[in-house]
Subunit: 478 residues, 2 copies
């Protein structure tokens, strides 16, 4: 029991210090370890299994929408990075430079990819000749490097894992359609697998990606009311195509520039999952990406037949679910705390009395509710329970977001509420850069995105008072 207490005390309460609560969890739930390389993290087996599950689902969704995977070099020659001016200006300040191979100085510096638009463009210029070659729908799973000053596990680290889709199209319409489609894939994935509601919308010009015509994002609200950009989708128009001379012969045999998109989701999304669902006992994992969906803990395991029955259940359930059987010598209390810390959605307890009664106990991680269920049809009971946990995690997050979403009709109102509370703040904006910058400064928050399909609050910009048709979500961001 002393050990048990120690484990629980190891986490700071989220109300006391949210940032510390977060780092306590990533460390104590064995998701990451710090490495000897400043700003880089080690993703441990439990954290990596979470990423593998995310990868598997997303990769399947990408393939179902016609995309295929490739692998580009991790290095970008300086001259290649320099080809698109806005892009290089956006990324050059935060790239890592390779200057030597072995003992020789390189003739040209290479940066470690912060993102791979330039490499994909260089390749596409090589392989796209005619309209028959279009569209090209490529994706890449890899790690990228951005030399950040301050870092936090998953949320901001010098190296992180991600996928980057890069596509080329014959027309502007197709490129736009792809950009929106992949944003939809991310939103759908967030809802169906992460139980995480997101706001889909367009970024303002200030917040868009370096070199993009338009950037779209999904934004999620964390437990502390800060918002996190969980995925982005960019429409590049023909900007890169012109810089890299990517042209195709159309059906009339005329040269045309290609229209381009890119879209990405990274290990950052694991940080979002932690901060949307976690509680003061640790992680709370959504069932469909949880490395372990169900842990079986025998009660009074020294008694005859208990471990045998638990093992029998394990063997029958492991074909259908990701199951662990904990027959270690730790106390039941220690096991409960440990598995709660790791956010396993369901704990199955079985002891001598349960065996006698042909039942077991299922304990939900999210609500701690205890269910006494028959061993008959256990598989179906568990399936339904996982689905119910998933749905209730989603509903809870949705309700919390609604509670923490505010409307402001004036800049003063926005500043006042923003000074007191964290959350999403809805306010109208005219579309002027100067107004956005002023709002950002006065209210101390950034525009998150311009949501699809939401009704305007008023018809006036909260900053200049001029006509405005853009509803913007504002917030404090990770």
């Amino acid at each position: 029991m002393a050990d048990n207490k120690k484990l629980v005390e190891a986490i700071t309460s989220m109300d006391e210090d949210f940032a510390k609560w977060y780092t306590d969890i990533v460390k104590n739930a064995d998701l990451i370890d710090y490495s000897g390389v400043k700003g880089c993290m080690i993703i441990r087996p439990y954290g990596y299994a979470l990423w593998e599950n995310i990868q598997n689902v997303l990769d399947g969704m990408f393939k179902a929408t016609g995309h295929c995977n490739v692998y580009m070099p991790m290095f970008i020659p300086e001259s290649l990075l320099n080809k698109e001016k806005e892009h290089v200006a956006g990324f050059a300040p935060e790239v890592a430079w390779v200057t030597h191979g072995g003992s020789e100085e390189l003739a040209e510096r290479l940066c470690v990819r912060p993102t791979s638009e330039t490499l994909f463009c260089d390749h596409y210029a090589n392989i796209i000749k005619s309209y028959r070659d279009l569209p090209k729908l490529y994706n890449q799973w890899c790690s990228v490097v951005r030399w950040e000053k301050t870092t936090r596990p998953f949320l901001r680290s010098r190296e992180f894992l991600w996928q980057e889709g890069h596509t080329m199209h014959a027309t502007a319409e197709e490129a736009h359609e792809e950009t929106i489609k992949m944003l939809g894939v991310y939103a759908d994935f967030s809802k169906r697998y992460l139980a995480m509601p997101v706001i889909m919308g367009r970024k303002t010009d200030i917040e868009k990606f370096a070199g993009a015509l338009a950037t779209y994002s999904i934004e999620a609200l964390m437990h502390d009311g800060k918002s996190l950009q969980a995925g982005t989708s960019h429409n590049f128009g023909t900007g890169f195509a012109k810089a890299f001379d990517i042209q195709y012969l159309d059906k009339e045999n005329k040269l045309q520039y290609c229209h381009q998109t890119s879209w990405g989701v990274s290990t950052r999304i694991i940080g979002a999952v932690i901060m949307v669902h976690g509680d003061n006992s640790g992680l709370v994992l959504p069932p469909y990406i949880a490395p372990t969906q169900l842990v079986i803990v025998p009660i009074a395991q020294h008694k005859e037949g208990v471990v045998e029955k638990a093992t029998e259940l394990y063997n029958s359930l492991k074909e259908k679910f990701r199951v662990e059987l904990d027959v270690s010598e730790n106390s039941a209390g220690w096991k409960f705390s440990q598995h709660e810390m790791r956010g396993i959605p369901v704990r199955l307890e079985i002891g001598p009395k349960d065996i006698e009664n042909g039942q077991c106990v299922l304990v939900r991680r999210d609500t701690r509710e205890k269910l006494f269920v028959k061993l008959e049809n256990l598989e179906q009971t568990i399936s339904e329970l996982l689905e119910s946990i998933h749905n209730s995690l989603y509903e809870k997050a949705l309700a919390r977001r609604a509670d923490m979403t505010y409307e402001a009709k004036t800049l003063e109102e926005l500043s006042t509420i923003g000074a007191e509370k964290n959350g999403f703040f809805k306010a109208m904006w005219c579309g002027n850069r100067e107004c956005e910058e002023k709002i950002k400064e006065v209210a101390d928050m950034t525009s998150r995105n311009i949501p699809f399909d939401e009704e305007p609050i008023t018809d006036k910009c909260i900053c200049c008072g001029k006509p405005a048709d853009k509803l913007v979500y504002w917030g404090k961001a990770y």
Copy 2:
């Protein structure tokens, strides 16, 4: 037909120029493209799909033997690389150095990982405390960088993809067992999925990995008689553990050093598949890793009902196999050449007459044999055909290896045969470094490995004539 001819002519014959045949294939079968980054390649969708299939199978085999995946940083601080002396001496001359983050010079240079022993050791020192923490069985899928002077697609490039297993054990016996077990996994995988026979054996001290106690390899013989090291497994003993102070408390509460292994397979193995099975029409892919196992080509596809029937077959077969349906406007001849170039194991042809007769034609890529088969039980027919192709690819490679394996009882004999032929050369060696170096110089070949379970040819070293119990495979290597 002109186009068709052009496609076929694009490949150099392997008898004329094997190296050129190889690069023609990797390029024309759309496996890779050259990039603007010297010595780095782009793995295109077809090449990457091949790697994904290899990954999926190997990853399953690793997990079935108790291993789990993690992710370590891609950078190694210079001081960390320097901790194990032999290791740094082996790798420092060929690493890429990062010296700047953004515009700032780093206080300490970082190398891009050429392999991750040092990073794993640093982490293991942190997390291993007691015998209860052992064994640790980690694996990582990632890319690594070695600054090679001359490069060739898949075989030797500055960046390549691989997996690296790194494990820690309580005893020397367990570490040895793991080293041999994982070598066995590689050999088993090569046989069952790549249809590639390999020689399992131990490397001599000259050829072993920098810092290892013992290195084991699987060696495969290519079409041109050169050998290729297709996978390695290293036993490190306690060398790194001592350099990194990785100790655990044993059951008697005494501190002990951990015993360590590492093992890896890279995209190089794709080069091996090409050079073991390919022919003058292009790739010949082993069915169980082929991205497309079966391509359906409708004959006289403008005739009524042909495309419909082909589509019907496609829909019914795609659940069970990786299938493509080629209804493009290219001529049947062009399609045949193209799919042969890409090494698709089976081509299914179906035309109006076949439909009338309730049959179709299956054409094997490896032997070009045509089979007229009934549409009933087509799934089973194809399953059996794929298995038969797999087996016959393996048998053919095995027979070719036997034909190209020579025995030499003297150094003179070895030099004479070696000057005339390429292949595996079996010869006895006393175990002395000087003898190995002399043989290497005189016969112009390197020791591949000391095979498990093979009978000695004589009892004397071919170099010094002293007693020898080590049979060695010698050869010219990639």
